[in-house]
Symmetry: C2
Subunit: 234 residues, 2 copies
DNA sequence: TCAAAAGTGTTCTTATTACACCCATGG
DNA sequence: CCATGGGTGTAATAAGAACACTTTTGA
């Protein structure tokens, strides 16, 4: 057994890529590290996993400590385990991505953070550790996922307009420099044909143009369609 | 720092889900464990990761020790980290799946294996650790992946018939009890329209029916199409 | 009355599905 | 000459892409 013991000298952490949407750009919540290593640098919020804590639980904990939110969309992406990725020893990290409504988020600086701030994903700059690579991986997963399942709604407030929804899809799916947009009529046709939007019979107020109708995502209908084996492609 | 040290008492392993195809069923390579825990039980081939070894490297090593194969299709799926998943301590494992041509494989019983054997994926029975869960996860990933990219060819010998290719797709994509099959004409049309198959102008020999034409996968053309930004959906 | 964004249909093209018979070979 | 699996085309339907003008509101 003593041979085996030499293996039990590693640690693991979770890192959360928390996406949000402010009506314009896709955002990611970053913290400024309050301790070495990489003190002062921007990083993904993460923490070492407690010895008696499941990976998923650790990811939920980190998210809750930082945002105060529970029951949020959270999914594992993959593990990152390069030998030299952490200066203090052998630490592999498991990346999670989650989607939150920015309006639900209230600043709750966690122990591991000097400060936390939303950054536009295309302009995060140079992050601590291998966090740029992790972010890139999570972005890819988000892009794939948002076309197969209606998770985009997790990022929007309860009431939203079709244009807001389209801008969200564009901010996720369209490469930064591309000037191409999704066709408005085709987008609406496709979204409405899923029957997942409930028309609230309300409109925007106080806008200097024709007010848009408000919709909400019909989660019950979604569960029902899934149960019937329906599969999406938005 | 001593506070941090309490975290460095964990280990991690890799577990490989190695898929193969024998012309009939989709297979997975399992080992019979030669040591405790779960001695004698069938399990996924895996090993603890050396302190100075990258995760991906560890997965390649396990695969090579078991099959003698290098340069094989291998991809990380995800990490599994339930607190009690390993009886000897806190060990999280990172699952990889790989695709090999069964004909290339020669038995090279690795240190960790009493014996290794191909099992039909639908009939693996009760595996050691959380390996049933891991296998299920990798199967899901394979099903998704095989429809988006032409990785199926990794499982076939260099020369194959269209019927063999179709049987492979069916064994991966069609749920066990479903009697449904893929339509032969539509399948051929779609596959041939990708232009990824090279007609070898050879036919099967010694079969008691009209001999089928042989094809090979045109890897160069594939790389070229990818470079041009082509995307698949088989 | 102007600016700004909302809303709305049709046509064309392409992909998907469904479907049944003759062919070449070995035994 | 029979059994076995190989090979082939067409028509109907559905999905996706391209495209431009009118409407409503606040300033």
């Amino acid at each position: 057994m003593s041979e085996v013991e030499s293996f039990f000298k590693s640690a693991f952490s979770v890192d959360n890529v928390i996406f949000g949407f402010d009506g314009g750009d896709l955002k990611v919540l970053l913290i400024q590290r309050g301790a070495a290593p990489y003190k002062g640098k921007w990083a993904l919020p993460g923490d070492l996993v407690y010895p008696n804590e499941d990976l998923d639980t650790a990811a939920e904990r980190v998210l809750e400590q930082l945002t105060g939110l529970r029951g949020v969309y959270l999914e594992q992406v993959k593990a990152f385990g390069a030998v030299d990725r952490h200066p203090l020893g052998r630490v592999i990290t498991v990346a999670y991505f989650s989607l939150i409504k920015i309006s639900d988020y209230t600043v709750t600086p966690a122990s591991f953070a000097q400060s936390a701030k939303w950054h536009t994903v295309t302009k995060v700059g140079d992050l601590a550790f291998d966090h740029n690579e992790i972010l890139e991986s999570c972005l890819k997963k988000l892009r794939r996922k948002v076309r197969m399942t209606p998770i985009g709604f997790e990022l929007l407030p309860p009431k939203f307009t079709l244009t807001e929804l389209q801008q969200l899809y564009e901010s996720i799916l369209i490469p930064p420099k591309s000037k191409k947009r999704i066709d408005k009529r085709n987008f609406r046709k496709k979204i409405l044909s899923t029957n997942l939007l409930h028309d609230l019979n309300e409109v925007q107020e106080g806008v200097a143009h024709r007010p848009a109708k408000l919709y909400r995502f019909d989660r019950n209908k979604y569960e029902q369609l899934i149960a019937e084996g329906y599969s999406f492609d938005i």
